[in-house]
């Protein structure tokens, strides 16, 4: 199928959507279905309901990076008036689990309890209190006396793997991962080879090697992690909570407490951002459940911003080593990527992030000989978890920096070098060894992204240099690839009801964390019927009311849940045609559904509303309210691609530098809602730029987070933005809903290597450690001179 070539530029005039008219057609930037609430302040997030009847929950957190809890004296805390419960590790289920928000059993070791007897990072919950006032809860926390046996701790993977290092998880745990060596703190070790790498290196004219380091950063969604838990009138446990994975959260909570899944419900109100941190069932959720079960009362447990910064899962710090064999004509003969990933105190996402770190960036260059080796290692830091990009941020920083070094080694332009080696339609991605999915990719717009970017920026001409040669400008580029869901794992189901007024109620379990998934599901359903978006109501916030969906992660929503929605809409449309054909004694195939009408071959038609009303009134037979269902499960994960470009200016006397321009050309298949797509691209790119330039969550030698609060965590602010241009390069993904692939993660991957490559282009300094600082450039300048 030929790809269409529509371009949407950030500089486009603001003449779209000037009217109040909405259109359902996919491909239109319709207003978000939840948009009115967002801009009027009426949207209700977890903590935006009255909770005067709720107990206030508070957590006592470990001051030690590694300690065994000998005993906890809670007597004084319990004696405080209005304290209703004090929980320690002795009061919670003994069964261990993983917080990872993948379906059971999940690719992760079951290595933690609701409250652990051994704490493994600073800030880990040790005890929990529920009291009738915040003041009493806080006093109770202070009154708890813990006898810790402080243990030796370890913060770096290399040290943690040494024979004399403390063992963080000495007890046997369920569900160990591939090649786990718990006594050396190795959560998993993985190896995936295609072709013959040694033979490939032998055929090379040059072998280039490099090592790249990335730091720990935080998701920092603007809404802090909050849970309100209670027991409802049917004696069920209810969590109203910030989550991207409501159905999995329900499942995990039920398993952890030995409850039937039917006795738990999870309500996901509006959610103030996710970016992966809400893809896990976080301690806050387990502990508030425990407090509600203990007291029988409603409990409110809200992390402060500082707590969230310190103890929410982080991006994994990784060391990425890359070695490439190359011939003088630019042919890559072999590539080996080796990654050591610091997973922190618990192994949630250790293997899956590690795998993704290499497989996505390596897929872009389908040389016949590829090897990935890697390991994830326990340390006494806040656990690493899922975060937008899911390891590929680190891997892409390494690989796309390295690709420039390889091009440089053979004296070839880095764009020309990429063009010669880049993946094309019909080739296969470098899939994880544990995945059976080896599809030939059907929509690959990466070369077009590269060409479009180069044309936009005038790559061949290079930057205009400032008059004062103290300042040097450079260009850098990076290619990126992400996924559309986890193949052979993700599952979504959708039901759509035709209401008696001709509107549709779409029930889907995927969580909208702001990316606009409810809107896109509504657009897909509406498009099948030719309705406008206002005729569709999307219900997606409650596990009782919506069918199973793995949730909003792995850039799966539009592809996986969107396919389920399209199938459900087509199923319902088929039922409408059948019933209409029965009424008119005609063939269902001849009944047309378009523009909100049901039309017959004899030229007559009725509105869908009139049809639905008659069906429900039972005028021509039994009463009916038609429901369509659809489910989607796939071994495929179509890949979105991007080319990202940065222009920087470096002060050669100080190392100070500025990113002047960031250009993103992204192939997301068909853009179902271009304004949303553009928002995802820009948002991802700016978050990626934050990791490149300023964001870091440092820990001191005792494993304490070395920031006082949000003021010390430097994210991008509006005045920090470079000039940002965004082009949507549309291909058509035949397996996607209306040709769509994903877009949520692909644009966060490129800024780091693009900026590093631009710095090198400007002043010949190769920065291999994030964040890129003036000091590191200065050091490089000194070495070079």
């Amino acid at each position: 199928m030929p790809p269409s070539e529509l371009t949407e530029q950030s500089t486009a005039s603001g003449e779209t959507n000037e009217t109040d008219e909405t259109s359902a057609a996919v491909g239109e930037s319709v207003e978000k279905v939840d948009g009115w609430g967002l801009v009027t302040g009426n949207a209700r997030y977890t903590d935006d309901i009255p909770t005067e009847d709720a107990l206030e929950g508070r957590l006592l957190r470990s001051p030690h990076a590694h300690a065994r809890i000998r005993s906890v004296d809670t007597e004084a805390a319990e004696a405080i008036e209005s304290v209703e419960a004090v929980l320690t590790n002795e009061d919670v289920p003994d069964k261990r689990f993983t917080r990872t928000g993948f379906p059971y059993p999940a690719p992760a070791p079951f290595d933690e309890h609701v409250l652990n007897e051994t704490v493994r990072h600073v800030g880990e919950p040790v005890a929990a209190v529920a009291a009738r006032s915040a003041d009493a809860a806080e006093r109770a926390i202070e009154a708890i006396d813990v006898d810790y046996e402080v243990l030796e701790h370890v913060l770096e993977p290399e040290e943690a793997m040494e024979p004399d290092a403390p063992t963080l998880h000495p007890e046997e745990y369920e569900n160990p991962q591939e090649n786990a060596v718990p006594e050396r703190n190795i959560v998993c070790e993985t190896r995936h080879e295609e072709g013959d790498v040694e033979a490939g290196f032998e055929r090379a004219d040059a072998v280039v090697a490099g090592e790249y380091e990335s730091q720990i950063v935080q998701h920092l969604p603007m809404e802090p992690n909050t849970t309100i838990a209670w027991i409802d009138d049917r004696e069920r446990l209810v969590l109203r909570t910030t989550t991207q994975v409501s159905h999995i959260c329900r499942d995990k909570i039920a398993r952890a407490f030995g409850l039937n899944r039917t006795d738990v419900t999870v309500i996901k109100p509006r959610v103030g951002g996710g970016f992966g941190v809400r893809q896990d069932t976080v301690p806050n959720q387990f502990i508030s459940a425990a407090l509600a079960l203990e007291t029988g009362r409603k409990v409110r447990l809200k992390n402060s911003r500082k707590e969230d910064l310190h103890v929410s899962q982080t991006r994994h710090a990784q060391t990425v080593e890359v070695k490439t064999g190359v011939q003088e004509d630019g042919t890559i003969t072999a590539m080996h990527v080796d990654i050591t990933s610091n997973t922190g105190a618990y192994g949630c996402h250790a293997l899956a992030v590690l795998s993704n770190s290499a497989h996505e960036p390596m897929s872009i260059y389908p040389t016949g000989n590829r090897l990935f080796t890697g390991r994830a290692v326990y340390t006494n830091l806040t656990p690493g978890g899922a975060m937008r990009g899911y390891g590929a941020v680190q891997g892409t920083f390494g690989l796309e920096s390295h690709i420039d070094e390889v091009a440089d080694a053979i004296g070839m332009d880095p764009v020309e070098f990429r063009r010669r080696n880049v993946i094309e339609e019909g080739e296969e991605s470098f899939e994880p060894a544990h995945s059976e999915s080896k599809p030939k990719l059907e929509s690959v717009g990466v070369t077009e992204c590269l060409d479009r970017t180069c044309a936009t920026v005038g790559w061949a001409d290079g930057p205009d240099q400032p008059d004062d040669d103290r300042y040097q400008r450079g260009y850098g580029i990076a290619l990126t690839m992400a996924k559309s869901g986890v193949p052979n794992s993700e599952y979504s189901r959708c039901t759509i009801t035709l209401e008696d007024d001709g509107t549709l109620t779409v029930r889907i379990g995927v969580g909208d964390t702001g990316q606009g998934s409810e809107t896109v599901m509504g657009q897909i359903a509406a498009s099948v019927f030719g309705l406008d978006i206002e005729s569709v109501h999307v219900k997606a916030d409650d596990t009782d009311a919506t069918p199973w969906d793995n949730g909003a992660y792995a850039s799966s929503t539009t592809y996986i849940s969107g396919n389920a929605t399209e199938k459900a809409a087509r199923d319902l449309a088929g039922k409408v045609r059948e019933l209409a054909a029965e009424w008119h004694e005609t063939d269902p195939e001849s009944v047309e559904l378009a523009d909100g009408n049901v039309s017959f071959p004899d030229g007559t038609s009725m509105t869908l509303g009139a049809f639905a009303a008659e069906a429900f009134e039972g005028v021509r037979g039994p009463k009916r309210r038609l429901i369509g269902t659809g489910e989607h499960f796939t071994a495929l994960s179509p890949k979105p691609f991007a080319a990202q470009f940065a222009e920087v200016e470096v002060d050669t006397q100080t190392g100070e530098f500025e990113v002047l321009r960031l250009v993103n050309a992204v192939d997301c298949g068909q853009a179902l809602n271009p304004a949303n797509v553009r928002g995802q691209i820009v948002g991802g790119a700016v978050m990626g730029l934050g990791q490149t330039l300023s964001e870091t969550l440092p820990f001191d030698e005792d494993g304490r987070p070395d920031i006082r609060g949000l003021r010390d965590y430097e994210v991008m602010h509006a005045p920090d933005l470079p000039e940002i241009e965004t082009e949507i390069v549309e291909t058509y993904e035949p397996t996607g809903p209306y040709g769509a692939k994903s877009v949520g993660e692909v644009s966060i991957l490129g800024p780091s290597p693009a900026v590093a490559n631009a710095v090198d282009d400007a002043v010949g300094v190769r920065i291999t450690e994030l964040p890129i600082t003036a000091a590191s450039i200065w050091d490089g300048l000194q070495e070079g001179s």
């Binding site: 950030s10 603001g14 779209t16 959507n17 930037s29 207003e31 978000k32 939840d34 948009g35 009115w36 609430g37 967002l38 801009v39 009027t40 302040g41 009426n42 949207a43 209700r44 997030y45 903590d47 935006d48 309901i49 998701h219 920092l220 969604p221 603007m222 809404e223 802090p224 509006r270 959610v271 103030g272 951002g273 996710g274 970016f275 911003r305 500082k306 964390t513 702001g514 990316q515 606009g516 809602n673 304004a675 553009r678 928002g679 820009v682 948002g683 991802g684 790119a685 700016v686 978050m687 609060g709 949000l710 003021r711 994210v715 991008m716 602010h717 509006a718 005045p719 933005l721 940002i724």
Partner: protein
């Protein structure tokens, strides 16, 4: 800075034109008091005056982070939250419309605070440059949008507001 006002167990404030009495607890911030009274559009993003999600327009002081202001000091003040942007018939302000039309609100948690920063700017500068808008948003953290569509939306709203046009071009 206005003079120190007496602390009390409750304060009288005028919120979006409606007179209200807010109960306050000792040491409580205006943000907490407003939220407890049901003004949930005032978001608690950080509690330390950094993220701008709790922005309100407070009397003559203008744009204010309500998590940094003792509630007790606000007795007699006018407070505007994002609900105050709606007109008497409940219609959206051009700022709100432009945010919707341009996909400038993703998760929405920062949006009330961002809209009030934009509103505050447009009170002072009816034809703001892109740089002026970015500066006006310097006290807001938005983690979703990358700010670009927000800046565009504020600029578009400025163009629609009557004061932005030269006086001769009187039509709306």
């Amino acid at each position: 800075m206005s003079q120190e006002k007496k602390s009390a167990d409750s304060i009288r404030v005028c919120i979006n034109g409606e007179r209200e009495r807010l109960d306050i607890e000792p040491g409580e911030t205006l943000m907490s008091s407003l939220r407890r009274a049901g003004h949930y559009s005032v978001k608690n993003g950080c509690d330390e005056g950094v993220c701008g999600a709790c922005n309100v327009i407070l009397g003559e002081e203008g744009l204010t982070r309500s998590c940094l202001v003792p509630a007790a000091s606000c007795d007699g003040d006018d407070v505007m939250t994002v609900e105050g942007l709606l007109d008497d018939d409940g219609r959206l302000h051009p700022l709100q419309e432009e945010f919707l039309d341009r996909g400038a609100a993703q998760c929405g948690y920062c949006i009330p605070g961002v809209l009030l920063s934009g509103y505050d700017l447009l009170q002072r500068d009816t034809v703001p440059t892109e740089e002026a808008i970015a500066d006006a948003l310097s006290g807001n953290i938005c983690r979703c949008t990358g700010y670009v569509q927000q800046i565009e939306a504020i600029q578009a709203a400025a163009e629609r507001l009557p004061d932005a046009e030269p006086a001769a071009e009187g039509e709306h």
